[in-house]
């Protein structure tokens, strides 16, 4: 089984870290195949940053797809650009704290995560990406939650071990939202 993700947001929202966290977890803790492709270009400050992740049981063919199984939109410009890039039956994860654009297609699911507010409540706005990763994992079960957390401790905790507890709390809050959305589907 192959599952593709497009993750997009403002530069600085932790988009690349989200993609890399999923990718490193897949590579280092599972037998799955994985590719990660960051968009790079003459991006301006305030512009969108995005990356493509494909996690699969078989070798990955196309590391970048025009129709992804999952789109993660952290802001309005990303939502506007990528909401039609979800394959029919796919899911959009929305950072509903700031995203105002609604998806009116009936063939896709939308999981709204008030990630900005949750991160603010937890005391560090930077962990909004961990909230979103939690929601993705809770909903898709593409990787074992414990493995993702351990990888977060290993990669993010290497420089800032004091942030491990808040990263974990953020992940778990998101995970609960993702899991509930999955069950309510």
């Amino acid at each position: 089984m192959e599952r593709s993700f497009i993750i997009a947001g403002f530069g600085g929202q932790g988009v690349m870290v989200m993609g890399q966290l999923l990718s490193y977890t897949a590579c280092e803790t599972t037998e799955k195949f994985v590719t990660y492709f960051p968009s790079y270009g003459a991006e301006m400050r305030g512009g969108t940053a995005n990356c493509y992740v494909v996690i699969s049981d078989d070798p990955v063919g196309a590391p970048k797809v025009s129709q992804a199984d999952y789109v993660v939109a952290l802001n309005d410009p990303s939502m506007a650009r990528f909401k039609d890039a979800v394959a029919p039956g796919g899911t959009i994860f929305v950072n509903s704290s700031v995203v105002t654009i609604e998806e009116d297609r009936e063939d896709v699911h939308v999981v709204k995560v008030d990630a900005g507010t949750i991160a603010y409540e937890l005391g560090n706005l930077k962990v909004l990406n961990l909230v979103m990763v939690g929601a993705i994992i809770g909903y898709t079960e593409v990787l074992p939650a414990e493995n993702v957390l351990q990888t977060a401790f290993k990669k993010l905790g290497a420089k800032r071990p004091e942030l491990n507890p808040i990263n974990e709390a953020a992940f778990k809050r998101g995970y609960a939202i993702g899991k509930a959305a999955k069950e309510g589907k």
Binding site: Y36, F37, Y40, A42, V60, P63, Q67
Partner: protein, 360 residues
């Protein structure tokens, strides 16, 4: 083999080069391959190697040329328009028959082009990477594991033939990340032993009977220009039997063949399964070396039953497809699935072209 490591293409190539005994790298910044010089800048001092950022592409490629003349495993890399600037020295390397590994992480073109991935340099890479009609073995990986394996192979082949070798990458395989297993590094002794086999290298007198000096191409009085061209031409001809390398996937019963190289090769390969699931018998031919071109892969096809070939590449107009047409020579229909300007070739374009050839 070691454990799998999640690495960026540029860094996987640079690390493999170091492990293969590369001890000299000269480059000049250009997107999308800046991670190559950045990696070497950090890594070379750890192994007693040399990293130089030259003042230009011309300078840095000539430095790589000079280091190879001294017998050191040497490398330079750039992207598209930067490779054009390096082509002067590449031609000199071929003229002097010096082993240098050159990597091109292709971006858009012509001219300065977009910084996004492309495959617009196929013709330049395979037909004329500089003046004088020389040839290089041109290796083009589809996956990062293949990029690792081919980087190692490129150093071996460069030394084997004493000739520059081109690693034809693209901005996509350079910047994407994928798990790789790296080869074990050559020891300092092994690196020194390889250098010691190059008895022709310009190493100065060092107590020996004479100064050893490398002559530039056309300046060596011991061989005429024509003798040199005949000698090299013979080597290029031999490659057509000894160095052809390609992947042949589900072609036995195929009614339609998808063919592509590099990043497009893996995308085309994944289209085979999609078409097979629809009942269209698709197969794949993926050159791993684009020079010498694997004529035999296409010659083996059963043209009586074949409905056509789809050539997929990130180049407009098509370049790779021209080589396919030259082999096929009108024996079957040829369609193309093309993209450029930084748009990665979408699998659906290949699938649709194949369906059309099959009348579906």
């Amino acid at each position: 083999m070691s454990e799998k490591i999640f690495m960026k293409g540029c860094e996987a190539v640079a690390e493999t080069a170091v492990r293969a005994g590369c001890r000299f790298f000269a480059g000049y910044p250009i997107t999308p391959q800046n991670d190559v010089p950045e990696y070497f800048a950090r890594r070379m001092p750890q192994v007693g190697g040399v990293f130089i950022q030259g003042e230009s592409e011309v300078a840095s490629s000539n430095m790589a040329y000079g280091a190879a003349a001294a017998g050191v495993r040497s490398m330079t890399s750039s992207s598209s328009c930067g490779i054009s600037l390096k082509s002067e020295a590449i031609s000199w390397m071929a003229g002097a028959r010096l082993p240098v590994v050159v990597a091109n992480f292709q971006r858009g073109g012509p001219g300065i082009g977009t910084i996004q991935p492309a495959q617009q340099d196929y013709t330049q890479a395979t037909k004329a990477s500089g003046n004088g009609g020389f040839k290089m073995l041109v290796l083009s990986p589809s996956t990062l594991q293949e990029a690792v394996d081919m980087t190692w192979q490129a150093f071996e082949l460069a030394d084997k033939y004493s000739n520059p070798v081109l690693l034809l990458m693209d901005g996509f395989t350079g910047t994407m990340m994928e798990p790789v297993e790296l080869p074990e590094a050559l020891s300092d002794e092994q690196v020194a032993a390889i250098r010691a086999t190059k008895t022709w290298a310009a190493t100065g007198k060092k107590g020996g009977p004479q100064h050893k000096v490398m002559c530039g191409p056309g300046l060596d009085t011991r061989i005429s220009q024509e003798q040199m061209n005949i000698r090299d031409g013979k080597m290029y001809e031999e490659w057509k039997t000894t160095e052809v390398e390609y992947e042949d996937y589900m072609t036995e019963d195929a009614e339609v063949i998808l063919t592509a190289y590099g990043i497009s090769g893996r995308i085309a390969k994944s289209a085979v399964g999609i078409l097979r699931a629809e009942g269209i018998k698709a197969g794949l031919i993926r050159p791993k070396k684009v020079y010498p071109f694997p004529d035999e892969a296409y010659e083996k096809l059963n043209f009586d039953t074949l409905k056509g070939i789809v050539c997929a590449e990130m180049a407009i107009p098509a370049q790779f497809a021209v080589d396919v047409e030259n082999v096929v020579h009108g024996r079957t229909k040829i369609a193309t699935a093309l993209s450029s300007g930084g748009e990665i070739l979408d699998r659906s374009a290949i699938v649709e072209a194949a369906r059309a050839l099959c009348g579906k």
